[in-house]
């Protein structure tokens, strides 16, 4: 009998416990952050996408530690952050966002296209900048409709156009694309589907044969997809994969003997974790990126010196410089530079999210500034404007040689004349769905 009583008490405690915590959460807990720039980090260090999530999160945290340790913050404003585990799951991501936004968050990096879609409608209501660097909703690149969302330096549509341009360069010119067979293998989710419409338009324009092949989450089973590839025998394959799907695809491609240097992943499909499991067979596999791989830049020496040598590193020292780690660095750097832009305009005060939004919108990251940051050649300059939250920056192609990634192309320009009209049309459509109106950028200058 007594066990029943205990059990009842245990349940009562479990059900009432959260309420007690709710009571204590009401007390202002954000006071400590008023002088710092608080940035919630939605990370996934566990779950099926953890191999991709860990390096990004480490890169991010290490760069912020570097800024705090070396420079004492961004123009004197210390960066404060708190991680929240999402497991790449939309519902958990929303829970994290709701929990952390109350601590006067300035911006949020959703790290997932699915979560970005959830946060886009909330951003203008809560006044939090959503910075989805190179992912999320491509239509949000039109700042006139989505003032609170930024996806520079390049979005999925621009990336797809740059990859097609790269393919044409390999084939010997855009007119040579005619009649070529190109397959797009994509993760069957909003993320994977993003590139499809651009590829379809380009297929019409340059008259290549496009085949779209979906792979369902999580992507461990791809036999039927690769059977179709074998039948089709495409000239090039472009892949928008994520997590475990990538390494399975690379292995399958090797198994059917596909020419690996004609297989190009997008920037979420080309990290160490994607190629190492396939071993020798992955040699020659290519991937798009907007920053260089490796540790050959000054910023890495600084990270090692100021962060890892002081024992404050978030991960292992050997993992510094992997493609996704570097992406975390770039993401943190862009966020920090946007905050710096805001801090220059509104000096000597604690920044609010409105001001940080202004900083993002007026970010002008020049080659000179990149040089000062120790990132010249590591990534490219970015200029954001009220109309254009994407920048349409160029893309690099990197290749796996069995041991490491190395860059094998110049900066490939995106096809802005194709992508920008599509963005503007899609922004009207997506904006109207949410009941938005277009703002007039001329008035804001």
């Amino acid at each position: 009998m007594r066990i029943r009583v205990l059990l009842g008490l245990a349940i009562a405690a479990l059900l009432l416990g959260p309420l007690a915590i709710a009571g204590s959460a009401q007390t202002p807990g954000g006071a400590a952050h008023t002088k710092d720039a608080f940035i919630p980090l939605l990370v996934y260090r566990t779950g099926p996408y953890a191999p991709s999530g860990i390096p990004i999160a480490n890169g991010f945290v290490d760069y912020f530690t570097l800024i705090n340790e070396r420079d004492g913050g961004i123009n004197g404003i210390k960066v404060a952050w708190e991680e929240c585990e999402t497991q790449y799951d939309t519902k958990q991501g929303v829970e994290c966002y709701e929990r952390l936004k109350g601590k006067s968050a300035l911006l949020v990096n959703p790290y997932s296209t699915g979560i970005t879609y959830q946060l886009i409608p909330k951003a203008p209501v809560d006044k939090v900048v959503v910075f989805s660097m190179g992912y999320g909703m491509s239509a949000a690149s039109d700042g006139r409709w989505f003032p609170w969302v930024f996806n520079f330096p390049t979005n999925y549509w621009s990336q797809a156009s740059a990859v097609i341009r790269y393919i044409s360069q390999q084939e010997g010119g855009l007119e040579k694309l005619k009649g070529k067979k190109i397959a797009h293998i994509y993760h069957n989710s909003p993320y994977g589907k993003e590139a499809n419409s651009t590829l379809e338009d380009l297929a019409k324009k340059y008259q290549f044969e496009l085949t779209l092949l979906a792979v369902d989450h999580p992507g461990q089973e791809q036999k039927s997809t690769w059977l179709q590839i074998r039948r089709l025998n495409p000239d090039w394959i472009f892949m928008s994969g994520w997590g475990v799907m990538n390494q399975v695809a690379v292995k399958e491609a090797a198994a059917i003997g596909f020419k690996m240097d004609h297989f190009i992943g997008n920037w979420w499909s080309a990290s160490d974790a994607d190629v190492i499991p396939a071993g020798e067979a992955a040699k020659g596999y290519k991937g798009a990126t907007f920053h260089a791989p490796g540790i050959g830049y000054k910023v890495h020496t600084e990270v090692i010196k100021h962060v890892y040598d002081k024992g404050k590193g978030a991960g292992k020292k050997e993992e510094v410089g992997s493609p996704l780690y570097n992406r975390g660095i770039v993401n943190a750097m862009l966020a920090a530079e946007a905050i710096r832009t805001a801090a220059v305009k509104y000096p000597k005060q604690a920044l609010n999210a409105e001001q940080v939004r202004w900083g993002f919108e007026n970010l002008n990251l020049t080659d000179k500034r990149l040089d000062e940051l120790g990132m010249k050649g590591f990534t490219h300059p970015v200029k954001v404007s009220c109309e254009d939250h994407e920048g349409g920056g160029p893309v690099l192609i990197q290749q796996w040689d069995g041991k490491k990634w190395s860059v094998v192309s110049d900066w490939v320009a995106v096809m802005r004349e194709v992508v920008r009209p599509k963005i503007e049309a899609a922004a009207v459509e997506e904006g109207k769905k949410l009941g938005y109106t277009q703002r007039d950028c001329a008035k804001e200058k």
Binding site: I3, I21, E85, T90, K91, E194, L434
Partner: protein
């Protein structure tokens, strides 16, 4: 001493057949509903409404739906996520095609659509039982998700395949879309839950519920006393899917705001099934308790170390949360296999004797 029905005399059939025949129960339930409607919108912050209470109300509705089918009619179903998806996509198509239609009407119509789909997938239940039926409903789950992913018409040809809740109002108050405030969405979700929970409670006390239970307990015996198995089982599938469909529509319109098919995958079906099992099969109250357990405990475990002053890496915290949560489920199922609702029943029996047990 306080909880005792002595002296409460029933003088009419209506009084004898009331849902809560004991005065104390009536007072408690009325108070509970009043508190649920009034207190959270006034005192809870947005995190609590958005991340805890709104999903709680929606999951409870889905759990009631599955409990009608699995707990009362004895038909195991793993298709809950699929039926919720039908509700969500039907609501999306209806409200984008007829923007003037009241969103509550849309929810009900979406539920009816899900009921029709549930009816179709319920047909095999006449011939197959138990685990085999579970596999048949699993097929429904995978087929429906595949369908919504494959056919772009369901998402109005959105390039990303995501459905987004458009802004809609009820009597001039913004209820869905980005500008709808959390208290409004909470009150709507709770209102729908209250109405349908009451309907479910009455259904299971009436002729329909009794025939479901007869089928569950022994279908041959039920057939001999005049319960028609096909009709009864299909009805259970239809009513259950209706509840799940309404819950699915709310899931997108009141909770997530926008969703892809992944939000309705097999994990959701299992989640609702666990709510029903932990809460108590064949109990409406159990559906509420089960939903509360599954929604609240992980959030409690996530926040607890922080409030205790323990600092640990998020990954470690997540792993611990999963382990503790799993251990708790096993613990409760060992100690009380009939679910949390049974514990409540035992507590009530004890209260009647208190303070003079035999």
């Amino acid at each position: 001493m306080i909880y005792r029905e002595a002296g409460q005399f029933k003088t009419s059939y209506a009084a004898d057949q009331a849902i809560f025949p004991i005065l104390q129960d009536r007072v408690l339930v009325t108070l509970g509903i009043l508190v649920a409607f009034l207190v959270p919108p006034l005192i809870a912050d947005e995190y609590w409404l958005q991340a805890v209470l709104i999903p709680l109300a929606i999951y409870a509705l889905a759990a009631i739906g599955l409990n009608l089918l699995t707990g009362y009619a004895g038909q195991v179903s793993l298709g809950t996520g699929g039926f919720m998806a039908v509700g969500a996509y039907a609501a999306f198509k209806l409200t984008t095609s007829f923007p003037g239609l009241n969103i509550l009407v849309v929810f009900v119509l979406a539920g009816l659509m899900a009921a029709a789909v549930g009816l179709v997938f319920g047909i095999p239940s006449l011939r197959i039982k138990g685990f085999y039926l579970a596999v048949a409903t699993l097929a429904a789950q995978f087929f429906l998700i595949w369908l919504f992913n494959k056919v772009a018409w369901f998402t109005n040809y959105a390039s990303s395949g995501t459905i987004t809740a458009p802004p809609r109002t009820i009597f001039g108050v913004m209820t869905t879309g980005p500008l709808a405030t959390a208290p409004v969405r909470y009150v709507v979700a709770l209102g729908v839950l209250a109405v349908f929970a009451l309907v479910a409670k009455n259904l299971v006390r009436g002729r329909m519920g009794r025939s479901w239970m007869a089928i569950r307990d022994r279908d041959i015996a039920a057939e001999i006393i005049g319960v028609r198995p096909l009709r009864t089982k299909l009805l259970a599938f239809a009513v259950s899917s209706f509840y799940c469909g309404v819950a699915g529509a709310e899931y997108v319109f009141l909770y997530l705001g926008s969703a892809e098919t992944l939000a309705f995958d097999i994990a959701l079906s299992f989640l609702v099934l666990f709510m029903v099992i932990i809460g108590g099969l064949g109990s409406i109250l159990g559906s509420f308790l089960g939903a509360a357990f599954i929604v609240l405990v992980p959030i409690f475990l996530t926040n607890a170390p922080h409030h205790l002053g323990l600092v640990m890496p998020v990954a470690l915290q997540k792993q611990i949360e999963l382990m503790v949560f799993g251990a708790l489920i096993i613990f409760f199922l060992i100690v009380e296999p009939h679910g949390l609702a049974r514990l409540w029943q035992i507590a009530k029996e004890k209260l009647r004797l208190w303070p003079f047990p035999h």
